[in-house]
């Protein structure tokens, strides 16, 4: 008997043994099912606001919407799971045992980090050609700076390879890269000039005169210029046309910033207001009263949630842009901040005189807390330009002594998307990207406060369509309100039967008829209600009380 059990019979197959092992393994799996995904990450990828109610629609549409919503949930879970594949981690700087990070100087940081990062800190001493304004290209690989006395240069700051260096023989007020590192826009004393990255002047745009500030809207290919004459001009650089020249009616425009989330231009004025502009409208989209004196600097963070402003009243305020437009936090600065900038991860830098202060928040979504600065640095001259380098932990400062590149751990977004802005792109990749970007250039008319407005159901057109259908057919074949009727319009007749008096008489007749119907209906309802009351009164045959006279 024992033999038969132990020796495997020829007809019998081996699986029974395996099955036991398999079941053992299954029983031991401590994490059955798919891996859990943190809820906040899933929230980040959710695009449907389920609390919004849609206007009543047909059953087919509603079922399709339900299917789409279920798909969207699944997709956001998958996208949240794909976050596991992101390779890089953001930088950080922590003091030990109550050490204040603001007291750590750049030299200490340079000593403590690796060689490659240490090389990112450099100082260009250019005292001869005046205070400098600077701009990083969208990928963060190239830097362009322009000095007040006409010195313009563009270089790849990582490899320190100079692309061009020229003197434009005129005062340079602002400098910006256009969509890629191939083109530069320089706001010179008289007009706006466009240069190639080899220093060749391509265009001189005389319609934009006395420009003080430039902003480039990358997805619309629009260059916004604010001028001393009080005009905000939008120039489409792909076609070469001026899309809109708006008169801001607020005097000299000195303070300008763009909201990267919705491509709205924020202008700061000397009466303490910040106005929001879109090229589609002649009037500002909104005006926010920020300061008691003039506004000196405006900056908006990359998600479009917070706006930081500083004014002549030495206040630095952070406003909530998506919702209430109210100040979230305020701080009094000893010296007014003339320049503000946000980093990709929500760090705020303020340039006050020759000192820069950087404030950090708790995480990516929260506003920077203005209590304690995260880092500070003193430069060799007053600050004239500030920008965080995209995708790097570096802050570029243009001042009267030249250009400085500071290390700010935790400022840059660690994981870029190769198809949007890739600092390591080759020439071919750049060309492909440029063609695709030009093909999907967003028309300027679509700029508004909510960039997702195009995805909303157009309720106004729906209702207008309904009205037109009722007019044409007398009833709405796609509607669900059988009672809805178009107002009666008497048909015009010939031979004097269409005089005002007879029209009025005809209208009166129809109105009286409808009125009579309504009265009849309401009488019927009243009778029914009476009967119900009597039935109720009869059913409650309790003792009459003195309070019964108040029963309705």
């Amino acid at each position: 008997m024992g033999e038969m059990e132990t020796a495997p019979k020829p007809g019998r197959d081996v699986p029974p043994k395996k099955d036991k092992l398999q079941t053992k393994r299954k029983a031991q799996d401590p994490f059955p099912g798919p891996a859990p995904v943190p809820v906040e990450v899933v929230q980040k990828f959710c695009r449907i606001d389920k609390s919004r109610k849609l206007p009543r629609s047909k059953a087919k549409t509603r079922s399709r919407l339900e299917v789409a919503e279920a798909e969207e949930e699944e997709t956001s879970i998958k996208a949240a799971r794909s976050e596991l594949l992101l390779a890089e981690e953001p930088g950080f700087l922590e003091g030990e045992d109550g050490e204040d990070t603001a007291k750590i100087c750049q030299a200490d940081i340079v000593e403590a980090v690796d060689i490659a990062s240490a090389a990112k800190h450099f100082d260009l001493n250019l005292r001869q050609f005046g205070p400098y304004r600077l701009n990083y290209s969208r990928t963060g690989r190239h830097l362009a700076f322009g000095g007040r006395r006409g010195h313009v240069a563009a270089l790849d700051w990582v490899t320190k390879k100079l692309m061009c260096e020229i003197n434009v023989m005129e005062a340079v007020r602002d400098i910006r890269f256009l969509h890629s590192e191939a083109l530069l826009a320089v706001a010179q004393n008289r007009w706006l000039h466009i240069y190639d990255n080899q220093g060749i002047e391509l265009h001189c745009i005389r319609r934009c005169d006395r420009v003080t500030r430039l902003e480039f809207l990358p997805f619309h290919f629009l260059l916004a210029t604010a001028s001393e004459t009080g005009f905000l001009t939008y120039l489409d650089v792909s076609v070469g046309k001026i899309v809109a020249a708006l008169n801001a009616r607020a005097g000299r425009l000195d303070v300008m910033s763009q909201n990267p989330y919705n491509a709205v231009i924020h202008l700061g004025h000397s009466n303490g207001t910040v106005s929001l502009w879109s090229p589609a409208m002649k009037e500002p989209l909104a005006k926010i009263l920020c300061h008691r004196g003039g506004v000196r600097a405006v900056a908006v963070d990359s998600t479009g949630t917070y706006m930081a402003t500083s004014g002549l009243d030495h206040q630095l305020k952070i406003f909530d842009l998506r919702g209430t437009y109210q100040p979230l936090s305020t701080r009094t600065l000893p010296h007014g901040a003339g320049h503000l900038a946000f980093s990709q991860r929500g760090l705020l830098v303020a340039g006050m005189g020759d000192v820069v202060n950087i404030w950090a928040g708790q995480g990516k979504g929260s506003p920077p807390s203005l209590e304690q600065p995260y880092l500070t640095h003193r430069l060799s001259g007053p600050v004239h330009g500030l920008q965080f380098c995209p995708f790097e932990d570096v802050l570029g400062v243009g001042h009267s002594g030249g250009v400085t590149s500071m290390l700010v751990p935790g400022a840059g977004e660690p994981n870029f998307d190769g198809l949007e802005s890739n600092p390591y792109r080759s020439r071919k990749q750049r060309q492909e990207w440029e063609v695709k970007a030009l093909l999907e250039k967003v028309p300027a008319e679509l700029i508004c406060l909510d960039p997702r407005a195009l995805a909303e159901v157009d309720v106004i057109s729906l209702e207008q369509g309904k009205k037109e259908r009722i007019e044409r057919l007398g009833y709405d074949p796609q509607g669900y309100d059988p009672e809805a009727k178009a107002p009666f319009q008497p048909k015009p007749k010939q031979k004097g039967r269409s005089s005002t008096a007879s029209l009025v008489k005809r209208k009166r007749k129809v109105m009286d008829e409808e009125h009579r119907d309504k009265v009849r209906q309401s009488l019927q309802q009243q009778q029914q209600q009476q009967q119900q009351k009597e039935a109720k009164a009869k059913s409650t045959g309790a003792r009459p009380s003195a309070l019964d006279r108040f029963v309705r």
């Binding site: 977004e413 080759s426 679509l446 995805a455």
Partner: protein
């Protein structure tokens, strides 16, 4: 002090050799991809415009018949073979890939009224004005042999249509009555009739293979059950139906091509209301055929155009016309759902693409991905006014265009009259009849 700077190793981001692919790291965070909706909208607009740019559906015209093409049939096993019968009694077999005629048979004296292939693909049947039903071999006659039918059946009356069973060796002809024949016998196994008028076409149901439908001259469509050898029910419409076609995917759905310029999709189980009324033609609809996917069908009309309709919509998604194509008598959708063939009055058979802007041939994986993406974009943004306007735009010949305007004015006038009648009479005295039910006169079981 604990410090770490973001530093990337270029080796992880730049390719090693020129022969490698470029590395493209992805981050799907929505903050890195602003303006999603406007950019997708612009992409959808571009996709719609490109679709119109690449919409070149006409492929080939098969020349050879000496009289108008009256009927077409598909080979059940071979995609490249089609058979056509002309009004002078000639039957031709064509090869679509080489676009030439491989065989010609003088089948009948007078019109070839109907042609159908056997389900195995070895033979086909034709009926003609000379009151005969002939069965022919699909392969040509051997060397030294004459072109002769395998089998000839002489009837007493003219047969106007023929269809073969999808699984058994049985076929049905129609003329004065519907006859079911066994291939081995010379007499029909049963004859069914309901009504006194001639029957113009008969079709077997591909899914429930014992069901047949037929269209008669007294404006009715009759459904028969072969097992019980009786008619099941009939629906009487306003005007005569020319042909019907069963949906190859849905067992009980069929579409009827009617003389009142419309097509009606019926569910056999509830014949009192059509599932959908398809209105877009401006003249009588002569033939209809379903796509093998069961989601669309093509209709041929006496106005010189063919239209492709989705099953669940009442408007056509596509219209094909040519200056040289006159009244289209018959149309077929090939079994790979990619091509449409139509035979017309002027002796030509034309081959069209079912999706006008489709690229034929093998697509690379990137092309497929781009095509799928564009398709989804167009579907997502199809209701936006600018995109709808571009997607819907078709060039129409002047005759059809002016007819559409005229008929729209007439329909509006009729509708206004009805609305006024309802408005000015006692509520409830004039019944509001939906558009679908208007065209059905009666259903008889």
């Amino acid at each position: 002090m604990k410090v770490k700077m973001l530093s990337r190793n270029p080796d992880n981001y730049v390719r090693e050799t020129k022969l490698d692919l470029q590395r493209v790291p992805r981050n799907y965070d929505p903050t890195l991809h602003p303006f999603e909706v406007p950019r997708e909208y612009v992409r959808a607009l571009n996709a719609t415009k490109l679709e119109r740019v690449f919409a070149k559906p006409f492929l080939a015209s098969l020349d050879g018949h000496r009289d108008g093409v009256n009927c077409l049939a598909k080979h059940p096993k071979n995609l490249a073979t089609i058979l056509s019968g002309a009004c002078d009694g000639e039957v031709r077999i064509w090869n679509l890939t080489q676009r030439n005629c491989i065989r010609t048979i003088q089948a009948h004296e007078g019109f070839v009224r109907g042609i159908c292939t056997r389900f195995c693909g070895t033979s086909f049947f034709t009926v003609g004005d000379d009151k005969t039903v002939k069965q022919w071999k699909m392969d040509g006659p051997g060397y030294g042999e004459e072109e002769e039918p395998l089998h000839t059946i002489l009837g007493k009356t003219v047969y106007t249509g023929i269809d073969h069973h999808w699984k058994e060796a049985v076929f049905a002809t129609c003329g004065q009555q519907v006859d079911i024949w066994d291939e081995q016998r010379t007499n029909p196994i049963c004859s069914m009739t309901w009504g006194f008028d001639s029957i113009s076409s008969v079709k077997f149901n591909p899914v429930e293979t014992f069901l047949l439908g037929s269209c008669a001259s007294d404006r009715n469509i009759v459904l028969y059950d072969m097992r019980q050898a009786t008619p099941l029910k009939k629906v009487i419409l306003d005007m005569r139906t020319n042909t019907i076609c069963w949906n190859p995917m849905e067992a009980f759905i069929f579409t009827a091509a009617n003389e009142d310029y419309n097509l009606y999709t019926f569910d056999m189980r509830a014949l009192d209301t059509p599932v959908m009324v398809h209105m877009d033609h401006v003249s009588a609809v002569l033939d209809v055929d379903y796509s093998p996917t069961g989601k669309e069908f093509v209709s041929a009309s006496f106005d010189k155009s063919i239209r492709i309709f989705p099953v669940d919509k009442s408007r056509s998604r596509e219209v094909y016309h040519t200056k040289r194509m006159q009244h289209v008598i018959c149309v077929k959708w090939t079994s790979d759902s990619k091509y449409i063939m139509c035979g017309s009055d002027e002796m030509n058979i034309r081959l069209w693409k079912a999706n006008a802007s489709e690229k034929l041939g093998v697509l690379t994986s990137r092309e497929k991905a781009a095509k799928d993406y564009n398709q989804k974009l167009k579907e997502k943004f199809q209701h936006y006014p600018h995109i709808k306007r571009i997607a819907r735009h078709r060039h129409l010949p002047k005759s059809i265009y002016s007819q559409i305007q005229e008929q729209r004015i007439m329909k509006e006038a009729r509708r206004r009259k009805e609305v006024n009648r309802i408005k000015h009479s006692k509520p409830g005295s004039v019944p509001i009849v939906s558009e679908k039910k208007k065209h059905i006169v009666a259903v008889v079981k």
